[in-house]
């Protein structure tokens, strides 16, 4: 049964982001991963979206909202329609449907479907892109296969055979013909794909709400119908690329190949015991300084032109007190560094001083699984710095540039 009206949208561009070696660091989450996908996309396309939709099944906050820090990290805070969908793995496709419905003639929408293990950022408009996204059918029924009650910590699961069968029944009844399936039971999904002549799944790890959009982007050279189903919530979406969609697919495949080929050591990165420190935090301070913290915004001295971070009251070079706000570049060169065994989080913490391309200097932590040297080329990546006051303090950390 197909819904009465279907608003499609046009895909302008997309970006896949995967963690190093396909294994996230303990200071990464759905928000940082979404930023890693969306930042290069926004810089490349030089657009400022009017709509931002976050889809994730691992939202860091149960209450208070998750899309806000993402908007800040992307430099989109301010005038913006911002929404989040956090119920189900099908929400990556639901976000596309919602975005399509919201876009008026000239508007641009950014959908970030994201989990810690991977994210896809998609830029949409009414018309004029490289592919057509057509929401097909949607379906809902009450099916408690996997659930956790609010304000409890216990996850429940029904009999796995019931879970996969129910999802499969709902999914396969939706549309006919070859299709890709995204279900939490990946083997059942693979069987369904083989049965209907759908394409195999190229992703090595399961990406939750990002999985279906990621498969769409990776397969952008030919039309694809994809169905995502879990817990009685099902979405079917079709993508119809034009000729120039290849670049986007190739770029995404390169990201996948690069991270698949990177070796991680046999041990996963050690978890961080965030409770080992109890940092001073202040909500007014966080709000006042959100631009320097989350947007890496410094001040350009109006008198002598020097770019300073954080934005000071007085220019240390010329003494002037007038500044223009400007985001620093996130790439640079290491001036000096150390590995500190005294800082209590983790066995050791890399610290680096980085001179950023185009001006400004950064001093901060190195990403947990990485090492840098004097003169290394590096880039700044968004990470969790600490959880003081049970607020996630996002900030920038130093990462080896060849990783990006």
């Amino acid at each position: 049964m197909s819904p009465r009206s279907l608003n499609g949208a046009s895909l302008l561009d997309a970006q896949l982001a995967l963690p190093r070696g396909c294994v996230p660091d303990p200071d990464e989450d759905a928000i940082t991963r979404a930023a890693e996908a969306a930042l290069p996309l926004l810089e490349r396309t030089r657009t400022r979206p009017d709509v931002l939709i976050l889809a994730t099944t691992e939202p860091p906050y149960d209450e208070g909202g998750n899309v806000q820090p993402l908007a800040e990290l992307l430099g989109l805070s301010g005038s913006l329609v911002a929404l989040e969908l956090t119920a189900s793995l099908r929400d990556g496709l639901s976000a596309l449907r919602v975005a399509a419905g919201l876009l008026a003639t000239d508007a641009v929408g950014l959908v970030c479907a994201s989990e810690p293990a991977g994210a896809v950022a998609l830029l949409l408009a009414r018309e004029g892109g490289i592919a057509r996204i057509v929401p097909l059918a949607a379906h809902v029924e009450e099916l408690r296969d996997r659930w956790r009650l609010a304000r409890t910590s216990r996850r429940h699961e029904a009999d796995p055979s019931f879970v996969s069968q129910a999802a499969l029944d709902a999914a396969t009844s939706l549309v006919g013909g070859p299709a890709a399936f995204v279900l939490s039971d990946r083997r059942a999904a693979a069987r369904a794909e083989r049965a209907c002549g759908g394409p195999p799944d190229p992703l090595p790890t399961f990406l939750g709400a990002a999985h279906a959009p990621a498969r769409l982007v990776l397969a952008l050279e030919r039309p694809l119908t994809i169905i995502a189903a879990a817990s009685g919530l099902v979405e079917a979406t079709r993508i119809e690329p034009a000729d120039d969609a290849t670049t986007v697919a190739v770029r995404a495949r390169r990201v996948l190949e690069r991270e698949q080929s990177r070796e991680r050591s046999a041990e996963p990165p050690p978890a961080i015991d965030w409770q080992r420190i109890d940092p001073y935090v202040s909500a007014p301070r966080s709000w006042r300084e959100r631009a320097q913290d989350l947007r890496l915004e410094g001040g350009r001295c109006r008198t002598c032109g020097r770019l300073l971070y954080p934005p000071p009251l007085r220019c240390p070079s010329c003494g002037s007190g007038h500044f223009e706000r400007e985001r620093l570049s996130r790439t640079g060169t290491v001036v000096t560094c150390t590995r500190d065994h005294a800082y209590p989080l983790g066995p050791s913490t890399g610290m680096a001083v980085v001179d950023l391309d185009g001006g400004g200097r950064f001093y901060g932590q190195v990403a947990p699984s990485e090492t840098v040297d004097v003169s290394s080329r590096v880039r700044l990546v968004p990470r969790r710095l600490h959880l003081g006051g049970e607020v996630i303090q996002y900030f920038w950390k130093v990462s080896d540039a060849d990783r990006g």
Binding site: Y343, Y363, V374
Partner: protein, 395 residues
């Protein structure tokens, strides 16, 4: 009138430095203050004001949070007492405040006492934990004291091709000096091998590249030189005393003009102190130096910033032996922070006590023969505040 040439130290004394579980903050304060006043040969009643230096009163349950501690420890009511703090320059800043007091003619005799009780909490819970938890939520989060000096060590070693062995020799030299200081925290000499094999704290600095966590107190009594000439048995003269503050606690790390090869604060404070004291060739005019060797790398940078040698030549100066006992310009004959430890508020005062002992010919085994001019230097925070004092025998 200005301090230089006009202010005298007429009494000086320090407690032993170490882990003193049997003595609290007030005990250490009383011990140093009483001994300094006795050394000055005056009655406590004649002292008009006191200045108290303590950098981390949070480690003591806030006993040293204000000057009230002096009134409590030695019976000083109702005279004025002010607590002074300026990171690791706290001790010297306390003496400088007292010197300004007497130079202004506000009080005839002034007591300056630096006290730090750091071991009432486990050493991990002291500076590292406080730096981790109390500092700005994002800027420089992850910085520790050894971590920040390690940044300079790495930059310096890369730029000038200096090795860890050279740094280790600072520790060897100063622990050797400290073996002749019955008040030092650690009095056992160490070998290069021990220094290199010690557990790494922040690469490349190991445990023996770092000053320990220590309790201690030291005090001086100050008067005008003209008062001292008339009334004191013996005294030393403050020839120069200068403090320089160059940048913010966090912002300095984000300033591209910092090359991580030295500290502008030391250079500025030294230049001003040398000018006050009429010194143009510190390497040859000074008889001894007490400088801020919180980490081995810091002493090497201090040689350059204090003008004892040129930029990049600090390692060479150390290797030459010129800064060891018996050398041309002995540095940290007391054992320095490496051997004495660093009870923050007391350190600068201890340095001035050490210089005073040499200038009065009473430094015993450590004595520099015929010492006439000495320099003390402390460096605070991320190196954004420095204090330099030059003391001399009366002319």
């Amino acid at each position: 009138m200005p301090i230089a040439g006009e202010v005298a130290i007429i009494g000086a004394a320090a407690t032993s430095f170490g882990v003193h579980h049997d003595r609290g903050y007030l005990d250490l304060l009383a011990e140093a203050a009483t001994a300094a006043v006795a050394d000055a040969g005056v009655d406590l009643d004649r002292i008009g004001a006191a200045w108290l230096g303590t950098a981390e009163p949070g480690l003591t349950g806030l006993i040293g949070d204000a000057g009230t501690a002096v009134a409590e420890a030695i019976g000083f009511a109702p005279r004025p007492v002010t607590r002074v703090a300026n990171f690791c320059c706290t001790g010297m800043e306390t003496v400088r405040a007292g010197a300004l007091d007497v130079a202004a003619g506000e009080h005839e005799l002034v007591l300056a006492v630096g006290v730090e009780k750091m071991r009432d909490v486990p050493s991990r819970a002291s500076l590292v934990a406080r730096t981790t938890n109390l500092t700005h939520p994002t800027l420089a989060k992850g910085r520790t004291a050894p971590g920040q000096f390690a940044l300079l060590a790495n930059r310096y070693m890369t730029r000038y091709g200096v090795s860890r062995e050279t740094l280790a020799k600072v520790s060897v030299k100063n622990h050797n000096h400290g073996s002749r200081n019955p008040k030092a925290h650690f009095q056992r000499p160490v070998t290069i091998e021990e220094v290199l094999a010690a557990p790494i704290v922040a690469e490349p600095l190991g445990l023996l590249d770092c000053t320990p966590t220590t309790d201690g107190a030291a005090a001086v009594v100050l008067a005008r030189v003209d008062w001292a000439r008339r009334h004191a048995d013996r005294f030393v003269v403050v020839r120069g005393f200068s403090t320089a503050v160059t940048a913010g606690y966090y912002s300095t790390f984000y300033d591209e003009s910092w090359d991580f090869l030295g500290f502008r604060a030391t250079r500025e404070a030294a230049a001003a102190a040398y000018q006050q004291a009429g010194i143009t060739d510190p390497r040859h005019e000074l008889d001894l130096v007490e400088c801020h060797d919180c980490f081995t790398i810091t002493e090497i940078l201090n040689y350059e910033d204090l003008g004892l040698c040129g930029r990049g030549e600090g390692g060479t100066l150390l290797e030459s032996g010129a800064t060891a006992a018996g050398g041309e310009i002995p540095v940290n004959l007391s054992g320095g922070l490496q051997s004495c430890g660093h009870p923050i508020g007391a350190t600068g005062v201890r340095m001035l006590c050490e210089l005073t002992d040499h200038l009065l010919g009473r430094a015993g085994e450590r004595q520099v023969e015929g010492a006439r001019l000495g320099l003390a230097h402390t460096l605070g925070g991320p190196g954004v505040v420095a204090a330099v004092a030059v003391l001399g025998t009366p002319q």
